[in-house]
Amino acid sequence: MTAMQIVFILTAVVTLFAALRVVTTPNMIHAALWLIVALFGVAVFYLLLSASFLAMAQIIVYIGAIAILMMFVIMLTRREMRDRGPQTGPQWKWAAILSALLFGGLVWMVKSVSLPASPVAEVPESSIADLGRALVSPNGFVIPFEVASVLLLAALIGAVYVAWTRRNS
C-alpha cells in the first residue's frame, strides 16, 4: 500500500464519518462544524486527484464563505443553541426512500462503468492557465461562464435592493 492510498483511506473515513455526524448530531453548530470537516475532506480528494485549483476554490467558497455564513445565521436566529426537539421531520420516510434510491442508483452507475486500471493520460502540470483560457475562449465555456456571472450579479443586486433602507417614503 502506497502512502497515497493511506491518505486516501484516512480522508475517506473522516469525510464519511463527518457527513454522518452532520445529520445525526442534535446541536446545530456542531452540525455546521462537521459539515466543514466533510467539505474539507472533499477538498483533500481534489488535491489527491491533482486538481489543486478546484481544491482551493472548494475551501474558499464552501468553507470560507458558505459554511461560515451558515454558522453565522444559526447563531443569529437560534435563541437556544441546543435543539431538544425531535430530529426527524414528518416526512422522514419519503426522504429515506429517496436517498436509498439515489444511493442505489449511484452504486449501480459506478459499478456499470468499466474503469481503466492505469491512468489514461498524464495530468498536465500547469492546468490553471488552460482552465482560465477555457473559461473565456469562444470554443470553450464562455457562455456558461457569462451566464453564471450574470446570475451572480443579479443575486448581488437583489441583495442590495432587499437590504436597502428607503428614506423619505
Binding site: I29, H30, S52, M56, I63, G64, I68, M71, M75
Partner: protein, 410 residues
C-alpha cells in the same frame, strides 16, 4: 552540492539516505521528510514569535514615550521568556457551560490557519513548497483563522465573546474582497499564482509597478488580522476582550501567538508579493542570504503594522464597513482593470519601461482619487444637518465681549 548553496537540500538528502538505510520504503520516506519539514518550519516560526513579542512591546513603548521592557536580560530581551513561564503555570479555566471540544479547538484552528500560510512562502531560492495555486492558497487557509475565532466566540458561552465573533466574521469577509483584488495584481503581472514564480518574476519590485495595490493590500490585511485601527473584535471599551475573554493560561497563549504570528505573516506575504521576496545581491548563490533579505523586508512591513497600532485610534464599525465596501473595493477594481489593460500595451517596452508606465498610471489614479475624495467631502459637508458640535454654535453666536477694560487699565 555544498551546504552553502543548498542548505535545506543537503540536510534533506542526508535524512533521506538515513531513512532509506533503515529499510523504509521510498514513498514512506518522502512522507516522513515532508512531515519533518512541516514540523520544523511550524516550530521555528512559532518560537520566532517570542522575539516578535519583545520587538512589538519595545516599539510600542517608544511610540508612547516609554522605554518598554528593560528589566529582564539585556534590553529586556528575556522578558517574553519570563511571561512564557508565567503563562505556562497559569490554570486553564473552562467555563461550566462552554462547549468543551469547540472551546479547545478554536485557538488551535486559528493558529493552524496562520501557520499553514508559511507552507507556501518562498523563504529562499528553491526552498518552500512551489504550489501552482499558492496565492489562492494563502486566502483559502486564511478562512481557518476566521473559523477559529468564530468557534471560540460561540463556544465560550459569553455574550461579549459572541458579539466579537459576529464582528470578526463581518470584518474578515468584507476585507477579504480588497485583499484578493490587490493580490491579483502581482499575480497578473507575474503571470503565475506560484509565490516562488512571483518572486522570480520581480526583476523590478512590484511596489514600483503597483504602489496603490500594495497600500490596499496592507490596509486590508491589517483589517484581516484585526490589528488597531481595526481591532473591533477585541475592543476593550466595548466588548471587554472579545472572543478570548474566557480563555486563560496556555489556551489563551495560543491565541496570543497566533495573533502576533499573523501580523508577521502578512509582513512576509507583503514582502514576497510586492518587495521582491528573497531577491537581493548574492541571493542566488547563497540562499541563506535570501532568507535574510526576506526577513528584513518582512520586518519592514511588520514595523508599519506596529506603527499603525501605535499611532491610530480605533475606527467605528460603520466606518470600517464603509471604508472596505465604498472605497477600497471600488479602487482595487479600478486598479485591476487599469493594470490589465495597460499591461497589454506596454508589454514590449522592456523591464523599466513597463514598470514606469504602471507607476505613472498609479500616480494618475492616486491624484484622481484624492481629488474625488476632496469633492465628496465638500458635497457631504454642504448636505450635513446643523447639529451641536464642540466649538460650533448651533444658534446665534453670543456677542464677543469687547475687551476695553484691560486696555484702559494699561
Amino acid at each position: 552540492m555544498g551546504i552553502l548553496s543548498q542548505p535545506i537540500g543537503v540536510i534533506a538528502e542526508w535524512l533521506r539516505n538515513l531513512f532509506l538505510g533503515w529499510g523504509l520504503s521510498e514513498g514512506l520516506t518522502t512522507v516522513l521528510l515532508y512531515l519533518i519539514g512541516a514540523g520544523v518550519l511550524a516550530t521555528l516560526v512559532q518560537v520566532w514569535v517570542i522575539f516578535l513579542i519583545w520587538f512589538e512591546r519595545k516599539i510600542i513603548g517608544r511610540f508612547q514615550d516609554r522605554l518598554g521592557p528593560n528589566r529582564v536580560g539585556p534590553y529586556g530581551l528575556l522578558q517574553p521568556f519570563a511571561d512564557l513561564i508565567k503563562i505556562i503555570t497559569k490554570e486553564v479555566i473552562i467555563p461550566r457551560d462552554a462547549d468543551k471540544a469547540v472551546y479547545l479547538l478554536g485557538p488551535i484552528i486559528m493558529d493552524a490557519g496562520v501557520l499553514a500560510i508559511w507552507a507556501v512562502i518562498p523563504l529562499m531560492p528553491m526552498v518552500g513548497m512551489d504550489v501552482n495555486v499558492a496565492a489562492l492558497y494563502t486566502i483559502a487557509v486564511g478562512a481557518f483563522a476566521t473559523l477559529g475565532i468564530l468557534m471560540a466566540g460561540w463556544a465560550s458561552n459569553n455574550k461579549f465573546a459572541l458579539l466579537s465573533a459576529f464582528r470578526t466574521v463581518a470584518q474578515m469577509i468584507s476585507y477579504e474582497v480588497p485583499t484578493v483584488l490587490a493580490l491579483l495584481i502581482p499575480v497578473m503581472l507575474a503571470g503565475t499564482m506560484s509565490l516562488q514564480g512571483i518572486v522570480e518574476a520581480q526583476h523590478v519590485w512590484y511596489i514600483v509597478f503597483a504602489p496603490l495595490a500594495f497600500v490596499i493590500y496592507f490596509i486590508a490585511s491589517v483589517a484581516e488580522v484585526g490589528r488597531t485601527p481595526f481591532d473591533l473584535l477585541e475592543a476593550e471599551s466595548e466588548i471587554v476582550a472579545g472572543f478570548h475573554i474566557e480563555y486563560s493560561g496556555m489556551v489563551f497563549a495560543i491565541f496570543y501567538v497566533g495573533d502576533f504570528l499573523h501580523a508577521f505573516t502578512i509582513g512576509a506575504l507583503g514582502a514576497v508579493l510586492f518587495l521582491g521576496g528573497w531577491r537581493g545581491p548574492g541571493a542566488e548563490t547563497f540562499p541563506l542570504l535570501g532568507l535574510l533579505y526576506l526577513w528584513i523586508k518582512a520586518f519592514l512591513v511588520y514595523f508599519l503594522v506596529v506603527w499603525a497600532r501605535g499611532s491610530l485610534p480605533r475606527v467605528r464599525i460603520d466606518q470600517m464597513m464603509d471604508f472596505s465596501w465604498k472605497f477600497l473595493t471600488p479602487l482595487a477594481l479600478i486598479l485591476l482593470v487599469v493594470a490589465a489593460v495597460l499591461d497589454h500595451f506596454v508589454m514590449g517596452f522592456g523591464m523599466w519601461g513597463r514598470a514606469l508606465s504602471h507607476f505613472a498610471a498609479n500616480v494618475v489614479i492616486a491624484v484622481l482619487t484624492l481629488r474625488y475624495l476632496d469633492h465628496y467631502d465638500k458635497v457631504r459637508e454642504s448636505k450635513r444637518r446643523m447639529v451641536a458640535q464642540p466649538g460650533q454654535y448651533p444658534v446665534a453666536r453670543p456677542p464677543v465681549p469687547v475687551e476695553t477694560s484691560t486696555e484702559a487699565a494699561s
